[in-house]
């Protein structure tokens, strides 16, 4: 249930935004799920709904929209780009789980598939972010 901790951060961030923007109700939160973090969507949604219940005043009818973002990585040495799906099959279960907890662990367990260099970057699809928060004033 590591998803719980991230769900809690979504709710806390939305409440902070609601306070800052003087929103009476948070209607919708759009969440970007970077593929590399391999979030268990059912658990994540369950956690969001459970945590939301403690904030009924502002979040009673809040809806969560989730979009999965494909991961792209790029080698800084040879400029090869590749996806999480390309590298997934070469990872052991333990390596994959470590990347689930901390996506940057990808730099430890993989290399550029073309030149073997560890100097690559995550272009997109890292982890959990909020793309929008809608509410009423």
């Amino acid at each position: 249930m590591h998803e719980w901790a991230l769900a809690e951060s979504i709710i806390t961030a939305a409440l902070e935004t609601a306070k800052k923007e003087k929103l009476k109700q948070v209607k919708e939160i759009t969440i970007n799920l970077g593929e590399m973090q391999q979030i268990e969507r059912d658990i994540f949604e369950f956690a969001l709904d459970e945590i939301k219940k403690s904030h009924n005043k502002k979040m009673k009818n809040t809806k969560f929209r989730m979009k999965t973002e494909k991961t792209t990585l790029r080698c800084k040495n040879c400029e090869k780009t590749w996806t999480y799906q390309d590298m997934k099959k070469k990872l052991t279960n333990n390596e994959s789980e470590s990347i689930h907890f901390i996506p940057e662990i990808v730099f430890v367990h993989t290399r550029c598939p073309k030149c073997g260099n560890p100097d690559f970057e995550i272009i997109k699809g890292r982890g959990v972010t909020i793309t929008s928060i809608k509410g009423t004033r």
Binding site: W4, A5, L6, A13, F101, I105, V108, G127, T129
Partner: protein
């Protein structure tokens, strides 16, 4: 929008005191001071956590002789107890392989660790910092407002040259600094003490170079009996850390 930073304060809210052990220079004994400080406080009956933030070269797990453990998943990650210390390190995820992380990646790792680690109630959280005043140091200052710094140096003017820069940055950012520990002293020399006093900072004390220390690495019973530990204990008691 970055949601993770919003829960960091909550994750650390039940910790009474957070001490970051840092230095401008590598190889001065930060990890030994962090690990031994954690062990000492734990043996005194305090609830202690140790967070190894030396992401390139974590070593507190070697000092503590940690083997075959992994955090438990419970609404985040609960650090396993090692010799009574709640211990969190990047090494759980890296299998001790090389970790070629860069700027933003380092910040992301620190934010992730701080956002998902469930420390619970602690008297002390000790943070073993990497050398220098790079991303990790600035991130800890920015993200952990209640962190207080203990800075470690050796008697060398070379080490002090870098340590002085770190102390100036801490001062510039108004970061609480408990003081400076002089480690690996071999002769009686007032150089470091004078430098620290001139900067109007606390010289916490010195730890003599201990030739037997290396043989106690990975064996905490031996470590607890070293001269190094005795000197450190004196510093902890005298300064009421």
């Amino acid at each position: 929008m970055e949601p993770r930073t919003t829960v960091i304060e909550k994750r650390l809210s039940q910790i009474k005191k957070i001490i970051a052990v840092a230095s401008g220079k590598g190889g001065v004994g930060k990890s030994l001071v962090s690990s031994s400080l954690s062990l000492y406080l734990s043996k005194k009956g305090y609830k202690v956590g140790l967070l190894d933030l030396d992401l390139y070269g974590p070593s507190t797990h070697i000092i503590l002789g940690t083997k075959d453990v992994f955090p438990e998943e419970e609404k985040g990650l609960v650090p396993p107890k090692i010799h009574g210390i709640n211990f969190m390190s990047i090494v759980y995820f890296t299998d001790d392989k090389p970790a070629p992380f860069k700027g933003d990646d380092i910040s992301n790792i620190i934010i992730e660790l701080l956002a998902i680690t469930q420390w619970g109630e602690l008297d002390y959280l000790i943070i073993d910092m990497p050398p220098g005043l790079g991303d990790e140091t600035l991130d800890v200052i920015r993200l952990i407002k209640k962190a207080e710094f203990i800075v470690v140096t050796t008697p060398s003017r070379v080490a002090m040259g870098s340590v002085e820069k770190l102390l100036k940055i801490l001062n510039e950012l108004k970061t609480p600094t408990i003081g400076v520990i002089e480690n690996m002293t071999m002769t009686k020399n007032q150089f470091i003490r004078n430098e620290i006093c001139q900067m109007k900072l606390n010289y916490l004390g010195s730890i003599q170079f201990d030739q037997k220390l290396e043989s106690s690495i990975g064996n905490i019973n031996k470590l607890l009996r070293t001269d190094f530990m005795q000197d450190l204990a004196k510093i902890i008691e005298e300064n009421n850390i």
